[in-house]
Subunit: 306 residues, 2 copies
């Protein structure tokens, strides 16, 4: 079960002003070949194509907030899926205001989508469940930004219990699924084998948390405690803490404090201001606080692993 894929590709790691080869924010989350897009800045469809992502496997797009660098690529993606003949539903989760923006543009271009677009309005309330399917549950984080802004926690669905190899011959084939679900085994002769004797715990569900854009928000700690991977924006270094506060963004040190206090597995920084030619200072600052920090790079993929 440990081989199930769970990884994040940062399609764009830039901030509001795209520059220095950094695209605006967009991420692709792959959970066992089901694809989820988080934020969809301008050019996201081009980056998805470059990455080789199969557009038809993208079932969901989650939009954190309505600053252009987080959603202006959405209409192009919606339109391309239409032109490519998509028929399966696309779920778009975002602020309620996103719906009229999509509808107006579809109407003005006289586009009648060939597939259902299911819109889910989000409110940035930490802990609220937004989506569950057979692979993940997505819960929300209430971020602190100039506009209502939502973060996301992707939690792998708890996988089935693992059968103990040495007990396999005890369990009739047709009973195995039920034992994996946690049932005791009752044999035709009335013998009962408690589930604990037959199975072991599955691996802990892996968790990925996404926090962009936000001021330093310690109230998130309880909601992201122990996640395996935390993506957190780091628009500035601490030298520009005042600017960060004014614009409701975080510094690399603040992102690292949150990661440390929530005891996450790995911290991934992103959303770098265009003023930073490279990320040396940002990563140094974060590592001083939380050594398991790294910077995201456009087009790179990061595993969510325990």
């Amino acid at each position: 079960m440990g081989h199930r894929r769970f990884e994040v590709t940062t399609l764009g790691t830039g901030a509001a002003l795209p520059a220095r080869g950094r695209y605006p924010t967009s991420q692709l989350v792959n959970v066992n070949e089901a694809l989820y897009v988080i934020d969809c800045g301008e050019g996201a469809q081009e980056r998805l194509r470059t990455h080789g992502a199969n557009f038809m496997r993208i079932g969901h797009v989650f939009i954190s907030h309505l600053h252009g660098d987080h959603y202006l690529g959405l209409m192009g993606l919606i339109s391309s899926m239409h032109l490519m003949g998509r028929t399966n539903a696309l779920h778009v989760h975002g602020p309620a205001d996103l719906k009229p923006i999509i509808d107006l543009q579809l109407r003005c271009s006289q586009t009648y989508l060939r597939y259902p677009l299911e819109f889910h309005a989000l409110e940035p309330i930490s802990g609220r469940s937004a989506w569950t399917d057979d692979r993940v549950e997505v819960t929300l984080l209430g971020l602190r930004h100039r506009l209502p802004c939502t973060g996301f926690v992707f939690t792998e669905k708890r996988t089935q219990r693992l059968l103990r190899k040495e007990k396999l011959n005890l369990i009739p084939q047709f009973m195995r699924d039920r034992v994996k679900q946690g049932e005791d085994l009752v044999l035709p002769d009335g013998t009962i084998h408690p589930n604990q004797e037959l199975t072991t715990d599955p691996p802990a569900p892996r968790r990925y948390a996404y926090c962009s854009d936000t001021a330093y928000a310690p109230e998130l700690i309880d909601h992201i405690r122990g996640v395996d991977l935390l993506y957190h924006e780091a628009t500035f270094t601490d030298r520009l803490a005042k600017r960060a506060k004014e614009t409701m963004h975080s510094t690399a040190a603040q992102a690292a404090m949150l990661a440390r206090d929530a005891d996450v597995g790995q911290l991934l920084l992103g959303h770098f201001s265009s003023r930073y030619k490279n990320t040396d200072e940002l990563i140094a600052e974060a590592k001083a606080v939380f050594p398991r920090s790294s910077v995201s790079v456009d087009g790179c993929t990061y595993p969510v692993s325990t």
Copy 2:
């Protein structure tokens, strides 16, 4: 005067579905260092940056119609200009429906532009003048498409008359501007030198015509007759003439027929369907009808020359 720059950079030469490295439609027209953008598909700002265009010199954006591949990059460009501290007005010319699309997105992102955005609603009526400044006059073309769609003719402003070198010593410095405007020279002693003796005609104003997206529209011929450069869409080859007709696009042969019948200087093809891996067949088809044809390439610049 022949050294005044007048050139067109095709930032994207793809059609509705961006693919094969071709970006959606956008062009940069440089007239003596004043910049005009025609159409603004997703990624246009990135292509402008790659090209080294100074965003502050872009005074106008002309949007032909509201299919996404012609305008979805506009909001990002507007937003970047704002973040870069622009204060001078940006003129956006496009279908009336574009205004509420811009306004809604500015409102939802709580963006209060630092510069005036002057919106000019266009109706696709051939011959109508849409803009005049000291460098160009822009007139409109009524194209044939599924949505109201406008083409553009950029006509260089007639430059001043040229002083004959051998007469320079006759004309006092302070009178030269007026002679260049066409006035006769009246000297203090009452001598009159007719303007014709002192000056020669300036070069004919150069003209650039932009036609995308459109079905074959011979009614345009009178409006584009003799332009120095005609950009015309060539979404398909003649093999797909039926598909072209259904979708209200043109074939390469149709574009070439229009160029031939309007006796233009050069024909530049673009807006190629993603089905064409290369443009060999498209250019061959056009050249068979009109030899002075070429295909536009993403990022390349074409002079408008007599």
